[in-house]
Symmetry: C2
DNA sequence: CGCCAGGTTGATTTCGCTCAAGCAATGTGG
DNA sequence: CCACATTGCTTGAGCGAAATCAACCTGGCG
């Protein structure tokens, strides 16, 4: 609602920079016109919510720019951050396809622009272009594989190893590694949100960071991280084994 | 290989009892003939492995009868049981669709009959019948939702609550609830495997069972469980809240 | 200026793991 | 048929990692 007029009007699926990376890249021009016509674009500031858990699902959201976090809460109000979503990613397809309410919530972590495509349009497209369904299927299987990894990690690895793994994942998108194996990383997340990503309390996050610094594996200054040698992080993942 | 001649020859997709419940129910007679022709059926005894983690994935497995457990191991050899699969369920579709190696293993937990359908045939069918892809997509989204729930639970709920939840899930398939809210349950799993399902050690499983018995919530004799009142299990899920 | 959210630190507690032993049921070989 | 391993489960003692509770510090903002 509070999206400025310009943001809702100017967006165009045909010129959208991220289209090549999305499931929508398989659409014909005619089909894309359908999307372009019915889509609604909106800008979000950090902290603004795209949709809430238990909201009715009226369609899918496609990220044009920014960073969106997908959260999930349990009955006691404890929250985790399930995953980060980037430009080109489509949100809420799970609930839409299951004709279900949203079972998690999405919140902007950076200033973001997100397009909404209503369920009717999506269903029309799925019926018309079978390849689109297969694209979503591939996406779903990828998410499923990641979720299963996360289950395993959270039950078998200690906190420090999980955090090392998180840093390694963030490296791929936000890090720079030099020839010596050193890495510089600009974190896209607050400490709280990093804690929520690996399912721990903020206090434990602080202590884990401290322990990595004491072992001279990494240095943290604000959201900048310097890792002496990436291999040290990899070692953390297997260190639990006795010999 | 060790499947008896009768088992490999006699199975027929057209007469398969579970077909109505599978994604394959959308196939035409002609398409089903293709499956029937190329499928390989095999019987498994408890403990026998259908496929291993990191094995190349050559197709999907469809459960005709029995019970299959999907396991996943981490680098240190610790193992969890991700989910149980029942007649009609299709295994390994994730890896097949991602053209990836198996990222978990499947093992018979009861005497089971499982059909194998090679990747080529599946791909042919996916191309020919778009509805099949949508069926798999729905299946994947369901698994994804369940996996995300499991992530949340394993990081936020204490062991006892997770076990209560497991009993409630098993109730739907293996339990009988009477008018008073009492439940009788015949467990399909050993204690070890229940422990693996909620990501704890067998010793902790024993202690958790004991604590439920001491609080007079349930009685365990072998694989038979009697729960005084289902509501007590539901209470466990929210008990962590203060006030 | 004072407030407040985000972050750090310390003290204490607790939950689940580790290690170790014991036990019942089942199997095996002499 | 008995001595002996094996496997699944239980129990106990002690430990340790992470949560909890509480205080405090910092920087941004009204």
């Amino acid at each position: 609602m509070e999206g400025s007029k310009s943001s809702t009007a100017a967006r165009n699926c045909f010129t959208c920079q991220t289209r090549g990376r999305t499931e929508w890249c398989v659409l014909t021009d005619e089909e894309l016109k359908l999307v372009d016509k019915s889509k609604m674009s909106r800008d979000y500031l950090p902290g603004e919510v795209v949709f809430h858990e238990a909201d009715a699902c009226h369609g899918v959201h496609c990220i044009e720019s920014g960073l969106i976090g997908v959260r999930k809460m349990n009955a006691n109000g404890q929250e985790i951050l399930l995953r980060l979503c980037h430009p080109g990613d489509t949100l809420g397809y799970r609930s839409m396809l299951a004709s279900d309410d949203h079972n998690n919530s999405a919140e902007a972590l950076e200033p973001s622009t997100v397009c909404f495509i209503d369920a009717g349009t999506v269903r029309t497209l799925l019926g018309r272009n079978p390849t689109l369904g297969l694209r979503f299927l591939t996406h779903a299987t990828k998410d499923l594989g990641a979720a299963e990894d996360k289950v395993l990690q959270s039950t078998t690895l200690p906190v420090r190893a999980r955090f090392a793994h998180l840093l390694l994942v963030l490296k791929d998108r936000y890090g720079v590694v030099d020839a010596d194996g050193a890495m510089d990383l600009e974190l896209p997340l607050s400490r709280q949100d990093m804690a929520a990503m690996i399912g721990i309390r903020p206090e434990s996050m602080s202590r884990t960071i401290k322990s990595l610094e004491q072992d001279d594996i990494a240095r943290f200054t604000g959201r900048r991280v310097h890792v002496r040698n990436i291999d040290d992080l990899l070692d953390e993942l297997e260190l639990t084994e006795g010999l």
